[in-house]
């Protein structure tokens, strides 16, 4: 009888913790999304400013982006999916190994606002990865809750 109650206690406590964890994850996930939105918006604004300052459409445009026919290069940033979630892996720029700095497609001396925009968008990628991890954890917590609720002990 005592063993039964203690087990029930443990299970109930576990479910409570799972619920609390779920609330925490929801909050964190929301915060993460809000940050993502902010950093994306300010990146876009900076990009717009770059175009504005350089007058017209000939400062930053899609025509400067390499096409299928241009030389190959390696990705600077990769998403790695490991055991404890997604993380973003970055490579240093190294022309001899094929890592090209994309900023230099637009000009040799990129304006300050463009540099800032780049850093904002880089932050965005990190935030997306973080958000994904949180979402996964949240899904996991919800799964556990659903499973645990079906235990006879708690009903």
């Amino acid at each position: 009888m005592t063993a039964g109650t203690s087990e029930k206690e443990a299970a109930g406590q576990l479910l409570d913790n799972l619920y609390l964890d779920m609330f925490h994850l929801i909050e964190e996930h929301t915060q993460c999304r809000v940050n993502l939105e902010r950093s994306n918006a300010s990146g876009a604004i900076l990009l717009a400013r770059t175009r504005f300052q350089h007058g017209g459409s000939n400062s930053v445009s899609t025509a400067q982006i390499p096409t299928e026919n241009s030389a190959e290069f390696n990705a600077l940033c990769r998403v790695v999916d490991s055991e404890d979630g997604i993380c973003v892996e970055r490579q240093a720029v190294d022309k001899s190994k094929g890592y090209v700095e994309p900023l230099h497609w637009f000009s040799v001396l990129p304006p300050m606002s463009l540099r800032h925009a780049v850093s904002k968008f880089k932050d965005c990628i990190e935030l997306v990865a973080e958000s994904t991890n949180l979402q996964r954890q949240l899904g996991e917590a919800l799964d556990w809750i659903a499973k645990l609720r079906q235990i006879a002990l708690l009903n």
Binding site: D16, T30, W144, A146, K147, L153
Partner: protein, 304 residues
């Protein structure tokens, strides 16, 4: 309607009657209560004993609880994961019940995460002292969870009007550009007066004449100037010198000429159309073939 940024990312929980009644029944065992919860209890008509300490939200430790994964696995081992439907139905039904019970006025009372943490700690304590055997999940089962949501903001009407105007202008410009080659009447649409055409022609002619003049001057310098400075030179060499100097100047001048002419093109293409407020009136006075006139009139609403 536009979605604005989420201002408050906190999770909120509308306390159910069951929860409040439970707290009311256990109040003599509670050493302390969070500020928020005390306020809610007061509003709902429950009284708290005087010796209860009211603590600030910040004083409650809010940490993500550690989850005992081995135990979790052990407990759920023999449970097959069934479809989520029963689970989904449950909160829905409780939500509806809550919605029926509560008036919108009561919706301002929320439990926040810190309150839930406090509640959990208190319940652990109460269970340890054997006052009750209630779990947090049983209490919040009937509560409505309010997730952070984007506020919907109506678009500023001024901005909307401005956008509308700009869009119309853009469309009109595109249309004129498109039909420029098709309709002979539109070819010189805003600049149909002779003076305007001569003026714009003049600018280009001047640019070209400047080019020719500077090339000629360069040749003259090479042909005569060097000869005068250095002394008598053979005729062939003088011509060669003149051509070389003229070529250099022509190259430099060509660059500027191309730039200037390109500018004219752009100017002619776009912003000049803004000044057409007066021209359409003139057009009406001047006798034109009826087809063209109708064209212009259909365009007019676009322009403004």
């Amino acid at each position: 309607m536009l979605k604005s940024t989420i201002v408050d990312p906190r999770v909120r929980l509308v306390p159910s009657k069951k929860l409040l009644e439970f707290l009311d029944s256990q109040k003599e065992y509670l050493p302390e209560v969070t500020e928020n919860l005390a306020k809610i209890m007061k509003q709902k008509g429950f009284t708290l004993p005087l010796n209860i300490q009211i603590i600030k939200d910040k004083e409650v430790v809010c940490k993500r609880p550690k989850i005992d994964h081995p135990l979790l696995k052990k407990l759920t081992e023999n449970i097959k994961f069934t479809s989520e439907k029963p689970l989904k139905n449950k909160p829905d039904s409780s939500k509806e019940k809550d919605n029926d019970e509560e008036t919108p006025n009561e919706k301002k009372n929320f439990l926040l995460l810190s309150d839930l943490h406090w509640l959990n700690n208190t319940l652990v304590e109460l269970r340890r002292q054997d006052h009750c055997q209630v779990f947090l999940h049983q209490l919040i089962d009937t509560c409505e969870l309010i997730l952070p949501e984007n506020e919907l903001k109506p678009r500023n009407p001024e901005l909307e009007a401005r956008c509308e105007r700009l869009r119309a202008e853009q469309h009109n410009r595109d249309y004129l550009k498109m039909t420029k080659n098709v309709d002979a009447g539109l070819k010189h649409y805003p600049e149909d007066t002779i003076s305007y055409q001569i003026k714009s022609l003049n600018k280009q002619i001047i640019a070209v004449v400047q080019f020719i003049f500077s090339v000629a001057a360069g040749f003259t310098f090479g042909f005569f100037g060097v000869n005068l400075m250095v002394g008598p030179l053979p005729f062939g060499f003088r011509i060669l010198l003149g051509v070389i100097v003229a070529l250099i100047i022509a190259l430099a001048e060509m660059y500027f000429l191309a730039k200037k002419l390109h500018e004219y093109d752009e100017v002619l293409d776009a912003p000049k159309r803004k000044q057409q407020a007066t021209t359409p009136v003139k057009r009406k006075v001047v006798a034109k073939p009826p087809t063209e006139g109708s064209q212009v009139q259909t365009l007019k609403p676009h322009a403004d």
